[in-house]
């Protein structure tokens, strides 16, 4: 950069610089101009907006939040009726966005890691299959994939009646054009003990893990922590389940008239969004994982083999920890992308934040400025929170240098 100390061009004999050529003075002028321009633009925009809103008779301010919403939402996590307020509708949409984002991130990460490893496999068929998956899915727009799943796959499934003709009236698992029907777990008295048992098992897993690590450092003896933990988590709640007299029961969906009743319904919109988001993002995560593993120098593998470490342990103890350092920063931005892309839900009618708040609420109140700014700020906040969390996680695996 030209802002170096010393004698800039244009200095006269006395060593003094004319104000025109002094980088500091010019910088101040530039910045002052920028501030004036920004303020002028904001002022013009705001005054225009105030005049336009007044002319159109649109109220401003956030008072509308406490008004009655008056519309229904297809999927609600917190109680909501059309008598609820706009504020509650906003939270319903926000929660729906977060649910689909969290579940989508979970599946995308799993599929992405599997496909990324498959692309590095020496198995010809597996490797080619993974390559075709990645190249196809990441070169087709996500919106197109969502619409494809929703309109071309899920909505031409048989209707509940047709589906029931093949499977029988009461089924544990049914997929038709009304959604995916799974058995619902009904908790009766005493069932909370089962969850306590699960919590105890998980805590025990951690305690055993710490103990085993300490023992290995002290004595060198190893202990099968994972298998023990898994056994605890499965056996303990099951035991409590039978001891307390089986307080959990399953309710199956059954066909009554034209529709299915009971059971646990997953809406087709949600399924399409989840399928599209996780398969699409997984193709990007797969490439990140592949690049991360390839970035670990081959010498590391050779060094591990020279020490007599077996291939499986080599990848677990040597390759993966080093690859994670390369993988995590771009993985973070994929998680953010998935969260932001979940806003495409509006195209297939899944009631997420954009669809409920930026769509229905905006149309009903007409308060575009408030509604769209809030929507944007929410996504901004979600992005900043995700990246803050991932930065923390990243610093915990980062290379500690002298």
């Amino acid at each position: 950069m030209a802002h170096q100390e010393g004698v800039p061009a244009g200095a006269d004999d006395s060593g003094r610089v004319s104000l025109m050529n002094d980088p500091k003075a010019r910088g101040l002028v530039f910045q002052a101009l920028l501030i004036i321009a920004v303020i002028a633009m904001v002022y013009l925009g705001v005054s225009n907006a105030v005049a336009n809103l007044a002319r159109a008779g649109i109220a401003s301010g956030f008072g509308f939040f406490s008004d009655r919403a008056g519309f229904d939402i297809g999927q609600t996590i917190i109680p909501y009726t059309n008598d609820s307020t706009y504020l509650r509708a906003f939270f319903v949409g926000l929660l729906n966005t977060m649910v689909v984002a969290v579940i989508g991130i979970f599946f995308a990460t799993i599929i992405g890691f599997i496909v990324g490893l498959a692309r590095l496999s020496k198995n010809y068929l597996v490797q080619k299959f993974a390559t075709v998956y990645v190249e196809t899915l990441r070169n087709i727009p996500l919106l197109l994939q969502l619409l494809f799943w929703y309109k071309a796959v899920l909505s031409i499934l048989p209707s509940p009646r047709e589906a029931a003709r093949e499977t029988g009236v009461e089924v544990a698992f049914s997929i038709n054009n009304r959604g995916l029907y799974l058995p619902r777990v009904i908790a009766e008295d005493g069932s909370s003990l089962i969850f306590y048992a699960l919590a105890v098992a998980i805590v025990a897993w951690f305690v055993i893990g710490r103990w085993a690590k300490k023992r290995q450092i002290d004595t060198g003896q190893q202990f099968p922590v994972f298998l023990t933990g898994l056994a605890l988590v499965i056996v303990l709640p099951t035991l409590v389940f039978f001891v307390t007299g089986r307080p959990l029961s399953l309710e199956y969906a059954s066909l009554q008239g034209f529709n299915m009743v009971g059971g646990w319904i997953i809406q087709p919109e949600f399924m399409a969004l989840l399928l599209g988001l996780s398969l699409y993002t997984a193709s990007f995560i797969a490439e990140i994982v592949r690049a991360g593993i390839l970035a670990v120098s081959h010498g590391q593998t050779e060094a591990a083999f020279a020490l007599g470490i077996r291939p499986n342990l080599t990848s677990r103890l040597v390759i993966v920890p080093q690859a994670m350092r390369v993988i995590i920063p771009p993985l973070t931005s994929q998680f953010l992308n998935l969260t932001k892309n979940s806003s495409l839900a509006v195209a297939i009618g899944y009631p997420d934040l954009v669809s409920v708040f930026g769509g229905t609420v905006l149309n009903q109140t007409g308060q575009a400025v408030e509604v769209i700014s809030i929507t944007m700020l929410v996504y901004l906040a979600l992005s900043l929170m995700t990246s803050a969390f991932m930065n923390w996680f990243n610093s915990s695996v980062a290379l500690v240098e002298r």
């Binding site: 950069m1 070169n139 309109k151 769209i372």
Partner: protein
């Protein structure tokens, strides 16, 4: 020699014939053993993948080719049970998918603009062709003006309103305007973010992080619903222009980050050398820094463009008919409505998007290999 052969009878006097390699290491069997059945785990994986392919490939091939309807006049031809893809639908609507409702007799103007674009793109994509600077100027300045005159109908040409535009034309217009505008804006923002002037730097950081933190769909909503409110009474932009403003602002933030990556990769010595030659900041940037930085980030720019190209499909949500939008609109045409139509239309649109994005990503990978002068194992 003769003497030796008599005295030591068991020593060979000539080489024994070469034996064929073991069956298990060569030929088809060897390949199979090495690539598909190397370990028990590999064998299981191979069998599982093969079964999966067997489950998925034959129905897809059957749907797309064998039971597909290739010629037809209306939905009647695609209604028979067990019919696959209704390609007749794509054939009948192909003109719409490419040009939207652009008047038939004026479509040569779209084609000519496409040719002008190709004439600029092909030489700039081939590294050995000279005059890159002139070529880039043509693409960034001359071509947009020419295309604007041709497409909207200036200078005595029949005017064509933008609501008539559609299909691949709109997709390409949005993507290309986005990239052409975001390029200079992105350079300015990237320089601003590295500037030593605190207010300029802060302004650039806020601008970049804001646009990168929000989804494109909210940006499009903003530019289509909120932007008109901020304009003085009587001033109004058409829908396409509003979408273009949103897309350009959005992509300039991404472009700025790509270019910043290039700027960071330039060693400090280059900046100091530019200063030592008494070049001003802008001279140094233009003659020393940018040529090196931009060359480094060509793959990144292409990748941004791929992302932008895919994201153009979002404009259908604010009511523009890009390729995906027009395909979706035509699916509801009563003359063609059938169970096979949606899938057919989406697969066609996916194919077009795939062709564009895949070739661009191949090009980006090729440039990456060309520019990669690092160590290889």
């Amino acid at each position: 020699m003769d003497n030796n052969s008599k005295s030591i009878a068991y020593v060979r006097t000539q080489e024994s014939p070469t034996m064929a390699p073991p069956v298990s290491t060569g030929g088809v069997v060897g390949w199979l053993k090495e690539n598909l059945f190397a370990t028990p785990r590999d064998t299981v994986l191979t069998i599982l993948t093969f079964l999966f392919l067997l489950w998925i490939v034959p129905p897809v091939v059957d749907w797309a080719f064998i039971s597909a309807v290739w010629v037809g006049e209306s939905r009647e031809d695609c209604l028979a049970p067990g019919t696959g893809a209704c390609w007749a639908f794509v054939e009948a609507k192909f003109g719409q998918f490419m040009y939207g409702r652009y008047p038939l007799e004026e479509r040569w103007r779209v084609n000519l603009s496409g040719l002008l674009l190709i004439a600029g793109l092909v030489p700039i994509a081939i590294p050995s062709v000279p005059y890159k600077r002139e070529n880039a100027l043509y693409l960034l300045v001359a071509f947009p003006i020419l295309a604007f005159i041709l497409l909207t109908g200036q200078l005595g040409l029949e005017p064509v309103e933008t609501p008539l535009w559609g299909g691949l034309l709109v997709t390409l217009v949005v993507a290309i305007v986005g990239i052409v505008v975001s390029f200079p804006l992105g350079i300015l923002l990237a320089l601003g973010r590295r500037s030593e002037m605190p207010i300029v730097k802060m302004f650039c950081i806020i601008f970049i992080e804001f646009w990168r933190g929000v989804p494109l769909i909210t940006v499009l909503f903003m530019s289509s619903v909120m932007l008109p409110l901020f304009l003085p009474d009587g001033v109004s932009f058409d829908k396409l222009l509003r979408a273009l403003i949103g897309v350009a602002l959005f992509s300039s933030a991404y472009m700025a980050e790509v270019i910043r990556g290039g700027l960071q990769a330039i060693p400090k010595g280059q900046y100091e050398a530019a200063n030592a030659m008494a070049l001003t900041f802008w001279q140094g940037t233009r003659l020393v820094i940018m040529p090196q930085a931009l060359k480094l980030v060509i793959p990144g720019i292409v990748n941004t463009f791929i992302g932008l190209f895919k994201d153009t499909s979002l404009v259908l949500i604010i009511g523009l008919f890009d390729l995906l939008g027009i395909v979706q609109q035509n699916m509801t045409d009563p003359n063609w409505i059938s169970p096979a139509t949606p899938a057919t239309g989406f697969v066609f649109a996916a194919f077009v998007f795939f062709i564009f994005c895949f070739s661009m990503s191949r090009y980006s990978a090729y440039m990456e290999r060309r520019l990669d002068t690092g160590h290889k194992r």
